[in-house]
């Protein structure tokens, strides 16, 4: 697709259009940061009020799975940035390969998350009133799992959204829409994907590691 065909009527140059899209995307990312930020603030305060319970509860999480998932997500960020880079340098086949790799990583991440979730469901480590784990020595651990599920759940929804977006740019990449003159969609989806990664970078130590 030529650059002219992708220029909307109210812009005069492709650069102006790309800049506007980028500003729009970054503003959207900031709203995402603040949306998650509320949960982080809530977690910080509740953690300080129920230190013992949170400490005890986080032992129920599987550090190894958390670590593997972090590696998977960081790798997917790398493949994503390589996809953007390949689009910018007109390597169309590589764009497709890297996008596919990113999708696979995302799938692996969700697969592992699914294993973790089903384990928690089995044990009764559920949020709020559904918490039914037996044999706790420290009360109040349900609150940790409230946050665990809200934070990883919201994050998981963002992964799903990201996968849909990646699938969409993948389709366009296959169609041959992108070139060094026009690769904004890959670029923006990349930014979004990195933000999802960035949030996980904080979630991992907060939920799995901190004592």
């Amino acid at each position: 697709m030529s650059a002219a065909a992708t220029l909307q009527h109210h812009f005069t140059t492709a650069e102006q259009q790309a800049d506007a899209s980028k500003i729009g995307m970054w503003l959207f990312l900031v709203t995402e940061i603040l949306l998650f930020g509320g949960l982080f603030v809530g977690f910080a305060i509740m953690q300080s009020l129920h230190r013992e319970a949170f400490l005890e509860a986080h032992h129920h999480l599987d550090r190894v799975l958390g670590f593997v998932n972090t590696v998977v997500l960081l790798t997917s960020s790398y493949t994503m940035v390589m996809a953007v880079h390949s689009a910018r340098t007109d390597r169309r086949k590589r764009v497709i390969v890297y996008l596919l790799l990113t999708l696979i990583c995302a799938g692996v991440f969700l697969g592992i998350k699914y294993t973790e979730y089903s384990h928690k469901f089995h044990e009764g480590l559920l949020p709020g009133r559904f918490y039914s784990h037996k044999g706790d020595t420290v009360p109040g651990q349900f609150m940790f799992f409230s946050f665990y599920f809200m934070m990883t759940g919201l994050h998981g929804l963002h992964i799903l959204g990201g996968m849909a977006a990646i699938a969409w740019v993948l389709r366009r990449a296959v169609r041959g829409d992108f070139s060094h003159g026009y690769y904004t969609p890959v670029d923006l989806v990349g930014l979004y994907w990195h933000l999802v990664d960035l949030i996980w970078i904080y979630l991992f130590p907060l939920l799995y590691l901190i004592k």
Partner: protein
């Protein structure tokens, strides 16, 4: 005149799928006016119920639902989208000399999200109602019956509509200014919208997560705001006001933005202190994030936080004061004519001054402790929101009405209506300052007999106010049925939006305008303000 945005392309479908910012603005305008009518009906019902103590026309439960809906509708469905999404959508690209906003499809999505949110809110009203107050304080909101979950979800959805408008405006201002229009040649309306958009983008997501947490609390009992489960209800208030205080500036900054357009135009004079007004908008946006705790002076928040927030609150008074003085100075040696938009602008000046000054009583700790959660607060925010934002909205509506619809309205009736609204408003709400000072708490269905005379006074005022709005509805409706004969520039204004025809063509300008001077070159002779500064 047939080739304008209203008539071409034709057909309902072309409206529902339009990405034209002007059409989206008009659809928003129709929707928010409907919301205003709905909220207004609830207001009148509240005032009738308060005519005498005890049961008049509704039960306490109904009353609680009615005042909740009045607040929620007026704030989320009317006042937040009123100026930015309706008027701003229409005029901001025109003022910048742009063909559209940066993301036209996002703009349409924002409108449909608004509609979806409104439908959800109406569904919540019908299915059980909501009796929490628009503030949704926990643990009341997490334990009461009714459709609180649905209502909070509606507000959550409406938040996205607001965020998308904000994102659109920021990108538009950055990237779509006409050739020659530097930052300091932008009209102050654009500066105001820009400051508003910053708050919309940065504050609304926190409201989003807060409302989601209420839903989670109701469904899962997650515990964060529930004291019985070890949570902290005061933390909820931090979350809520972290959005809702800046949201007050989402409401008032656009009002100030309109006044900065109307006063120079009807005074035929350059705005006084352009840069001071522009910077004060940004300053207000910045400081607005630091003052939310003044809603919590008696909540059980720590005394340290109270003192910090009280101090910061007084700082935010300064940029607002600066603006008022600049507007007055603009009128000095002007050529002032009192058409409807200017009448509303002057109403704004007087009422907003009262609203702002009574804010001092509420910012100071000792007096706030007495006045908090009384009718004094109710009166204060109605003076700012209605005396401020709504008056400015009406000024803007009358100012740009000919531009939007190509028709003039009856100036005589407009003056009658402006007078009734001004008088009715003051009778209704000045009284409430006295009620509050004397100790009448807000959200009271019943009250002590000693307060009755003032309540009667206030209720009668609300009828005068309603009459003013009915007349306005009448003459505006009548104007739409007249032939399209408004000139391109009925007020002799200088903004770019007046250089195109009324109503504008589909792509706004026949040719892209080239900006060579400042935005308010009313005075003669006309040197470039940029040069005067240099």
């Amino acid at each position: 005149m047939s080739d304008n945005y209203l008539s071409s392309p034709r057909g309902i479908k072309s409206w529902l799928t339009t990405v034209d910012h002007k059409r989206i603005g008009v659809m928003y305008l129709a929707s928010i006016l409907f919301a205003f009518l709905l909220g207004g009906i609830f207001a009148i019902l509240i005032r009738i119920e308060l005519l005498k103590p005890g049961h008049n026309i509704m039960s306490a439960d109904t009353y609680n639902r009615v005042f909740t809906l009045h607040g929620a509708i007026m704030i989320f469905l009317f006042i937040i989208p009123s100026i930015p999404a309706a008027l701003g959508n229409f005029v901001l690209p025109l003022m910048l000399g742009a063909k559209d906003v940066a993301f036209p499809r996002l703009n349409l999505a924002s409108y449909y999200i608004y509609v979806a949110g409104a439908l959800l809110a109406i569904a919540a009203m019908v299915a059980g109602g909501v009796d929490t107050g628009w503030t949704f304080y926990t643990p009341y909101s997490t334990t009461t019956n009714g459709s609180v979950g649905l209502m909070t979800f509606a507000a959550f959805v409406l938040g996205f509509s607001s965020i998308f408008t904000g994102i659109n405006f920021i990108a538009t201002v950055h990237k779509l200014r006409a050739p020659g229009m530097g930052w300091f040649r932008m009209p102050l309306f654009v500066w105001g919208m820009y400051a508003t958009a910053i708050i919309q983008v940065l504050a609304t997501p926190v409201l989003g997560i807060t409302l989601l947490l209420i839903i989670m609390e109701r469904v899962f009992s997650v515990g964060i705001f529930n004291p019985q489960l070890g949570g902290d209800p005061i933390l909820f208030q931090h979350f809520f006001w972290f959005y809702s205080h800046p949201a007050v500036y989402i409401m008032i900054l656009p009002g100030m933005a309109i006044i900065s357009e109307v006063i120079p135009c009807f005074s035929r004079k350059t705005i006084f202190g352009y840069k001071a007004i522009a910077y004060s908008s940004i300053a207000i946006a910045g400081v607005s994030f630091l003052v939310w705790g003044h809603h919590m002076f008696v909540s059980g928040q720590s005394p340290l936080a109270n003192v910090i927030f009280s101090f910061l609150t007084f700082l935010v008074a300064i940029p607002s004061g600066v603006k008022v003085f600049n507007w007055i100075a603009t009128m000095y040696k002007g050529s002032i004519s009192l058409e409807a938009p200017m009448l509303y602008a002057i109403s704004f000046l007087l009422l907003f001054a009262i609203g702002g000054l009574t804010g001092l009583f509420l910012g100071a700790l000792a007096t706030d402790v007495h006045l908090h959660d009384t009718y004094f607060v109710v009166a204060h925010f109605h003076f700012v929101m209605m005396g401020g934002t709504v008056m400015a909205f009406l000024a803007g509506l009358h100012f740009w009405w000919p531009k939007m619809f190509g028709r003039m309205y009856s100036e005589a009736w407009a003056r009658v209506s402006a007078a009734l609204i001004f008088v009715g408003f003051n009778v209704t709400f000045l009284t409430q300052f006295v009620l509050g000072s004397r100790g009448m708490p807000r959200r009271y269905y019943n009250y002590l007999d000693q307060f009755q005379p003032l309540h009667v006074f206030s209720t009668v005022g609300s009828w005068v106010l309603a009459l003013g709005f009915l007349i306005m509805a009448g003459y505006l409706w009548a104007s739409l049925r007249r032939p399209m004969d408004a000139p391109a520039n009925p007020w002799g204004a200088v903004g770019l939006e007046w250089q195109t025809s009324s109503p504008p063509p589909e792509h706004n300008f026949e040719e892209v305008p080239l900006v060579t001077g400042g935005p308010y070159d009313y005075s003669t002779p006309e040197p470039d303000p940029a040069e005067v500064h240099a």
